[in-house]
Symmetry: C2
């Protein structure tokens, strides 16, 4: 597609550059020019589809680095409960009845919600199932995604087959929109030997299906709660001498292709190890608060030079896929708990949700900022709203005042997938009907205890 | 107006009753019937305007118990700064240049934003100015408001005149939509003698203009930060022996018509005094986090039986007037910092934003719940959105997943003021233009240092 977006404020996230009355030229899947409107409309006088972004703000598509997309079917199913009761009495029993079709429909709903809210890339960890799965859902919506298969010690053979299938069928597919990952669930559900095996398997899959520019990454929950060392002790009779990241490092599984979700209960040495190995963090403030997991030491990680990105976590523990909300809560929370209003400035938080998110997924050579040569993944945010009026500072508004519903147009890989707030790729109403129907059938099967 | 809203899920907030496929009958300004759709459509077969709320959820209008509405003109003007620098170098200098017209326009913008987002009552503290002021703005939008005049020791005569004018001109006016309040700024800016005088003045104004059913209340910032005792010491050479609420109590100014905003740095005895005197709290979690003021002991206040309500605080320290956001952050924050996911359940938070808010403003005989005899103040929230799909639990969605922009219809005092997401009372685009123009002129005057 050949497209010029012009007349808007372009928040490039390349060196925090903001171009007022800026323009972006897109050819096929890529950004080929960025600059002032006056200049670019002269340089490209004809032949391009045009979008007038006057009064609007153009941002790189937001990158959500931790999701369990399929779980949208359980949004609001159980809240405000003690963690173990929530998991054991509510979430796990109903998840046990989810079919491949449910996983596909749930992911479709999350992909739709994400796209409409200006999120163009989602990193999702769930169960891979052949035929119908999360990858298919994201590809249909036209969203960029890293789709993983979550691994547990109790199903090694099944996992390994699923990972091989996932990588073969999906890595680099759908015009390069879909990449895959190897997802050990957590240090207390994956034994040390299997943890190492999964790292080796990731390397092997990279040899077969990945490349330096498009690697298969490793996505794992790390230190979500402070009792994780105790959980590891109980599960594997291992007494940690330091933090959980140090433990993982002792297994030689950490490198720059690892994204660690949550990173709440970290020691200083854990942070030093993350920096040393190039491990990336996904910060999920809403989920961490809702599940009362604790508060991640994000300012400390940033100070130490660790790459920190933002995630919503599942629609069960959030309960939405709204990255604007996550940005605002991330900006607020660390100021509040550290009693320092200068922490997590608006521009820093916007970096975490864009370029740092791209880095966290080892995808920053192609996405995360609006610059020449990158894929055209962007969102146009309408500022003609009372809650975004008047305009003193666009970046402040994006983080502290804008809503996902202010997103008007979304472009992924050069293709318009949301236009005037409506999806162009799938029928939103049909997806909602499918989700409501899948939910009803799921509750029915749960009640009758039929799989 | 005669109106039936039918077919929706009615979240009454009277004993937490939820009526699926419920209906509400409104005559003139009041709710005259609430029940099942089938029954009410039979009982009122003709002559009523009808709104089909199928697939929607009807809630009492949200009550925002702490605002400085005029400050929307400064939204995003200065963020992420140390508190004193923010106030002294940024906020106070520009506020010094705000005219009565600016105050009116700023309040108009906040009223518009509030109404569109399902907030039907706002408690706002700012400077009263004759002719153009906050009360006029709220009345024009058709919103319910308690409009105060903020008082400081350095301008006693001016304040007393303003309060008298405000009460005479506005208390009970605009069909009873507007009430007024006496607003000592804070214990460190209002000396003890003046604090007492303002209480006496409030009593006198109540004698002249108020009534038991419609009192003039007392709205004051209390214990926003932990250094407030030190600020009081510096200002008035008073050494507090206990907390700030105890200090106010020693001045005999506390009773059930007092609403204390923030209540962050409270002692246990402060909470006991609040309970004993019937003082109400306005909790402003977003503002408290953004300004790094600290975290209010809300669960403790609730446990002790103190009435707690929710507020956004000013558009400068939030930066929006969105009560859905405040509900979500209130539900999340206390779980997280207290490491207890059962605190602040969805229904409890919704109570704080509705019926408890009404109590906090001494207005619960007329608003705060959907029940027969109360004023018809309500919002219809569309649930036909991907982020509100599927529906397991309406109340969970209202707190954890809904957005202000999901509000479709708003009724205040029996009158539809928002229909299909558009205001019926004022022209939203014109208000935004006025605000942008006022902002430009304000910045120009600040630059040239012209008042």
């Amino acid at each position: 597609m050949e497209l010029i977006i012009y007349g808007g404020a372009v928040v490039t996230m390349k060196d925090d550059q903001l171009i007022r009355d800026g323009a972006i030229v897109i050819e096929d899947q890529k950004i080929v020019d960025v600059g002032k409107t006056s200049e670019l409309l002269r340089r490209y006088p004809r032949g391009y589809e045009r979008i007038n972004a006057k009064g609007k703000v153009v941002i790189p598509g937001l990158v959500n680095t931790h999701q369990h997309a399929a779980m949208s079917l359980l949004r609001g199913y159980a809240d405000d409960l003690p963690l173990q009761e929530w998991l054991e009495k509510w979430i796990w029993p109903i998840e046990g009845h989810m079919t491949a079709h449910d996983i596909y429909v749930g992911a479709l709903l999350t992909a739709v919600e994400s796209a409409l809210g200006g999120t163009t890339t989602v990193n999702t960890m769930y169960h891979y199932t052949p035929d119908e799965n999360e990858a298919k859902a994201f590809a249909e919506v036209g969203l960029r995604a890293v789709v993983g298969h979550v691994c547990f010690s109790w199903r090694k053979n099944e996992d390994k087959k699923a990972l091989e299938d996932l990588a073969r069928n999906w890595h680099g597919k759908a015009d390069g929109l879909i990449r895959v990952s190897v997802d050990p669930h957590a240090p207390y559900t994956v034994d040390p030997e299997y943890m190492r095996e999964l790292k080796t398997l990731c390397d092997e899959l990279n040899e077969k299906y990945g490349s330096d520019g498009a690697p298969i990454i490793w996505h794992v929950h790390v230190a979500e709660t402070s009792d994780e060392p105790e959980k590891i002790r109980r599960a594997f009779n291992i007494n940690l001498r330091g933090g959980v990241v140090e433990y993982l490092d002792s297994l030689s599984v950490l490198d720059e292709r690892v994204i660690a979700a949550h990173c709440v209960a970290l020691t200083d040495e854990d942070i030093a190890v993350m920096k040393r190995r190039g491990v990336k963090a996904s910060h999920n403030p809403i989920s961490n608060l809702k599940l009362a997991s604790g508060i991640s030491p994000v300012p400390k990680m940033l100070e130490q030079g660790v790459t920190v990105s933002l995630g919503t976590d599942s629609p069960c523990s959030n309960n939405s896929a709204d990255m604007f909300e996550v940005m605002k809560v991330a900006a607020l929370l660390h100021k509040g708990v550290n009693k320092n209003p200068t922490l997590m400035s608006a521009v820093q938080v916007l970096r975490l949700a864009t370029i740092e998110g791209a880095k966290a997924l080892s995808w920053d050579s192609e996405i995360g900022s609006i610059e020449v040569g990158k894929r055209a993944d962007l969102a146009i945010v309408s500022f003609a709203k009372p809650h975004l009026c008047p305009v003193h500072n666009e970046v402040s508004h994006l983080v502290y005042a804008a809503k996902a519903t202010d997103v008007e147009t979304v472009v992924v890989n050069g293709k318009i997938i949301v236009e005037n707030g409506r999806l162009t790729t799938v029928n939103c109403e049909e997806v909602m009907e499918m989700a409501e129907k899948a939910k009803k059938s799921l509750l029915e099967r749960l009640k009758r205890n039929v799989k």
